[in-house]
Assembly symmetry: none
Homo-oligomer: 401 residues x 2
């Protein structure tokens, strides 16, 4: 019996609502005066909350493992990220708002440059063509039709596009066509499992037609397909937790991940202000809110300490607005660390704050990585967070007699 | 997907080297002034290092479980010691430098004393005969030949020897012949699995011939076989971590365990001084160094508090030599605790220190069991150590999109 089964069995109704506030890439590393981004930020509201909360540090997936956004969020939502792996094609497709049904097979596509004579790849990203050139080429690729399959091609950004096939008997378990270095020809799609043979045939036919259509284009006279995958059949939040769940996010990718677990995703605008307004509007319609702040991660990736601090301070200002709504449980954390010093996602633990009735208190009086070492939560895993939130919301009944 | 699979998938090259300094049986218990062996030791170098390191406490295998040297080290190397069990026969054989191939089956042998009339065991260790008597008897046992099998018998120490069979179709899954108490006859070898039937027949034939040869010896007129096992096919350090790994150890057993996971094992002499010299000589040839200090454990087993303190202080003196080589990551810990007060291995957590760039700092300023409670690492498992070291060496790429 795994955690998902346990939650399915034990969840009970309650009128206490849960808010999971995720600052993407929140965890950091010390800057010039020895403080992390979160420690350097002026966060009077979160610090005040810390005195009435349980704090700790959480490992997203496993010690030493740097998660992508998919696994980081799945773990936060209580799903074993090593068990439920989501193909990049699926994330890209959901990220740009495409819906993937049972019959869909999604791939991430890259335009590339081929040597016209030998056919080997000379640039895996076709000189990073701009998005409008990508859109023009995608328009061309939409001419391709194959019997028995509905085909969707959508530009993403720069040289990236998404290909979605829809039809009977499509399966994943397929190799990628990008040879991962220049000087080699694009590879054919090969089935890893017998049941994926039909899908491989269709994708190779599509690729052949695509190469024909792109032949005289420059620099993007070819393309590769990666992360060919179906929508994994994730148990939904309603099934697992009995929660009517709402995702409040501004970026397509996080809306996509939320949809994967069955959350509703209303339009929440483009800023923290529009997000908090959406939270207020939707407050009475849902039991659970996933509230996503993106820019902490973006500035972490840029190595911009001060700008990341700024987003954390901006987020701190909405804490009173959230508390005014009266959540039964408020969790504040991130999906993974994106320390300014590394300019990338990292494996470091995340500070976590759980504010609720009936908590065990600790001596932590500020929300920061170092202070959280002494917190009552200790060192947990991301998958522990939802069960703890559920318990504090009075939404889990006793296990066993 | 388990941790080994994950490491296999995610490891990437880096020029940062990793040093794992293992003081065998490091963990201790308070002595007369309330300090453990490590806390009582004067360790200025490790204490200074603590201020620039992440510290914590680690459980070798599972809470309450006292590991042997095999599981303790396998866990340190990132292998699930409950999954990868190594028969004692294999450890003893590797320990004395025998190579075990695919066709080898190894057993640990004990000489014992039998009552000449009834045949029951009167002393399971034959009065702890000295090693040279053991060698004389082993010489006698080498007369035994069995069709289709190459047989190696080697004395180990006192009443202990190793028996290795080599041939086609040999399998483990066999019972031991030591009845574990006196007053009972040695048991026959029985197959637990069908495929081990042939091996049981051969071992019982060997035992019959051995008893015949030993009949007139005193006190060692019999023997028992234990831990009959094949070399488990462990994934190597190169496969799992992409690391060229070198073991620097003075005792055969630890060299044997290192060989099991594919480490190179150069001769490192007999002392900490010769070991550090070997580290210096081999520095440019490897990515990873397992540096083993044995005597902390030996003195723990003796219940000799002061001598264990002495070995820890001696080890502290080589820390600057190690740091001078410029490791990307230096881990200091032990395989298990061997508290002087228990004169044996124990289940207690081990202090761990991870020194690297991009660590989360904590307030710990000395390397000791009590101080480590407050460390940023918290309470981890031995299997977490290698993934953390790999991450800090920049040797793991992102998991998932």
């Amino acid at each position: 019996m795994d955690q998902i089964d346990l939650m399915k069995e034990l969840h009970v109704p309650s009128d206490k609502k849960i808010v999971l506030l995720v600052m993407d890439g929140l965890g950091g590393l010390p800057g010039k005066d020895g403080k992390t981004e979160l420690e350097a930020a002026r966060t009077p509201n979160m610090d005040r909350l810390s005195r009435e909360s349980m704090l700790g540090l959480s490992t997203p997936v496993a010690p030493g493992i740097t998660p992508g956004s998919g696994p980081g969020h799945l773990a936060l939502f209580g799903y074993n990220a090593l068990k439920y792996q989501i193909g990049r094609g699926v994330l890209e497709a959901l990220g740009i708002g495409l819906r993937l049904g049972e019959k869909s097979l999604a791939a991430r596509g890259n335009f590339c440059t081929l040597d016209p004579k030998s056919g080997v790849i000379t640039d895996r990203r076709a000189g990073r063509i701009p998005t409008d050139e990508c859109a023009r080429l995608v328009e061309k690729l939409r001419q391709i039709s194959i019997d028995g399959v509905d085909i969707t091609v959508q530009p993403v950004k720069d040289y990236r596009f998404v290909l979605v096939l829809e039809g009977e008997d499509l399966h994943d378990g397929l190799t990628e066509t990008d040879p991962q270095k220049t000087g080699l020809k694009p590879l054919p799609v090969k089935p890893i499992r017998n049941e994926a043979e039909k899908s491989a045939l269709i994708l190779n036919e599509w690729l052949e037609k695509a190469f024909e259509l792109l032949r005289n284009e420059r620099p993007a006279n070819g393309c590769t397909l990666r992360g060919i995958a179906k929508n994994p059949d994730l148990p939904t939040f309603k099934d697992v937790y009995g929660l009517d769940a709402c995702a409040i996010a501004t970026y397509p990718m996080y809306k996509g991940i939320a949809r994967l677990v069955g959350m509703d995703v209303p339009d929440a605008g483009e800023s923290i202000e529009t997000e908090i307004r959406t939270l207020r509007e939707k407050w009475h319609d849902y039991d659970f809110f996933f509230f996503h702040v993106k820019k902490t991660d973006s500035y972490g990736e840029d190595g911009n300490f001060d700008a990341k601090v700024g987003v954390i301070e901006e987020t701190d200002k909405i804490i009173p607005d959230i508390l005014k709504l009266g959540p039964g449980v408020l969790v504040i954390t991130g999906d993974h660390s994106t320390p300014w010093a590394l300019k990338s996602h990292s494996w470091h633990e995340l500070p976590v704050l759980i504010h609720a009735d009936n908590i065990r208190f600790d001596s932590v009086t500020e929300f920061g990585e170092t202070a959280c070492i002494m917190g009552a939560l200790g060192h947990i895993r991301h998958t522990d967070i939802l069960p703890l939130a559920m318990a504090h919301a009075g939404r889990l009944t006793k296990f066993g007699a």
